[in-house]
Symmetry: C2
Subunit: 207 residues, 2 copies
DNA sequence: GAAAAAACTTGAACAGCCTCATTTTTGTAG
DNA sequence: CTACAAAAATGAGGCTGTTCAAGTTTTTTC
């Protein structure tokens, strides 16, 4: 069934993506020309466009790798979060943050975000939005889990609250990638400061 | 003192900005080529670059016009907000939202946001960030005002809360401009749904 | 008022993303 | 094995944002 043609196709796509991950990280997304990428992947420029619709597409594909991985890792925290509302929320968020620079540079994040805002109706833009949705859903699931466990007040609706938390962790992350000088440690402190009062407000009162 | 040269310079800059506001709205930012802009402003392409550093710069300048205006209008609400925490917060946010499409299309907003994320260290990117800061400061000032008036619990710190509210109104606005089909009415309803529970949590309890 | 200097304008040339007519490779039928 | 069809690869060329050396206009100097 899987003939020569299919194998070669899969191989070329893999080569292009691999070349992109390497070159974008090492030289920066902007600095990498399509020609460099094509050379590295041993294909022509035209061929790159048979596999990806635009330069930004290739970047979004690398971002997707990273986010899929972090979502899978977050699942464990959602299913069995640490005790305490604040600790549980921060555990999930820190998971996201700490993993974020594993394959991607800040410049790559910035560009991917810019693409998703500027071209939301392209396949690439939608793909990035879908990734965001997965993370948002995970935060909501965490709140629901905490409520079921009796740590969050029963009258709290997990959906708007989860969205609110997601918006804030997302904005904090945007600030982080916009500022090359900011460290992961500073990012963690910043989000903790925002989450602490919120956690107190939604937790079962007795503390 | 103000010689011929200065007058001509000011006039050219005005012509370029005016051409940009018109053309970007009518034909779309992407579709307008620098050459079109230069022709309309009766200058050469090179001259445009003496006044603005890049195409995106011109866009940011038009966004600045819009935001400066909305900040000025918001000042009235901050100084004398309507009664009720929820009403006051929504009054300010609706002010922002309702004004947002006066000079700018959704595409223009998307592009401006993309620039500010992708190139935060350029003058343009910083200028957009400064505008954001002004709006954020206004939200914080409003919360402080409400607290002084005894409508918000005294133990609430206006700074993190104001930032949280700003993050959410900002994200909701980003969703709005990303989705061409979304109406202002839907945007208003979406932010109201997010702000209602928050307003209840921070208001003086007695309701 | 002429000459020199300074400031500004100009558009041709350049760079990089992307397209598409052509060529090459792979699969299939006789 | 040959001929044909389908699919994919190729890279020269188009398009548009940006730069910069040369030219023009305004200001200053004497």
């Amino acid at each position: 069934m899987t003939g020569l043609r299919d194998r070669q196709k899969a191989d070329r796509e893999r080569r292009i993506l691999h070349a992109a991950v390497t070159l974008f990280r090492d030289r920066g997304y902007r600095a990498v020309r399509l020609e460099d990428l094509a050379d590295r992947a041993d294909v022509s420029v035209g061929t790159v466009y048979n596999y990806y619709h635009a330069k930004g597409d290739i970047l979004i594909a690398t971002v997707a790798l990273e986010v899929e991985e972090v979502v899978a890792m977050g699942q464990g925290i959602v299913e069995d979060p640490p005790r305490g509302v604040e600790a549980a929320i921060l555990a999930l968020i820190h998971q996201y943050y700490d993993h974020s620079l594993k394959y991607l540079s800040k410049e790559m994040w910035r560009t991917a975000m810019a693409i998703s805002i500027e071209a939301p109706d392209t396949p690439n833009g939608r793909r990035y939005a879908d990734l965001d949705d997965k993370l948002r859903g995970q935060v909501i699931a965490l709140i629901a889990r905490l409520r079921d466990r009796g740590e969050v007040r029963p009258r709290i609706d997990p959906v708007p609250l989860g969205e609110l938390i997601f918006n804030n962790l997302n904005m904090a992350f945007i600030e982080f990638v916009k500022n090359d000088a900011m460290t992961l440690e500073e990012l963690r402190r910043s989000i903790a400061a925002q989450m602490r009062p919120l956690a107190r407000m939604i937790a079962m009162e007795d503390a």
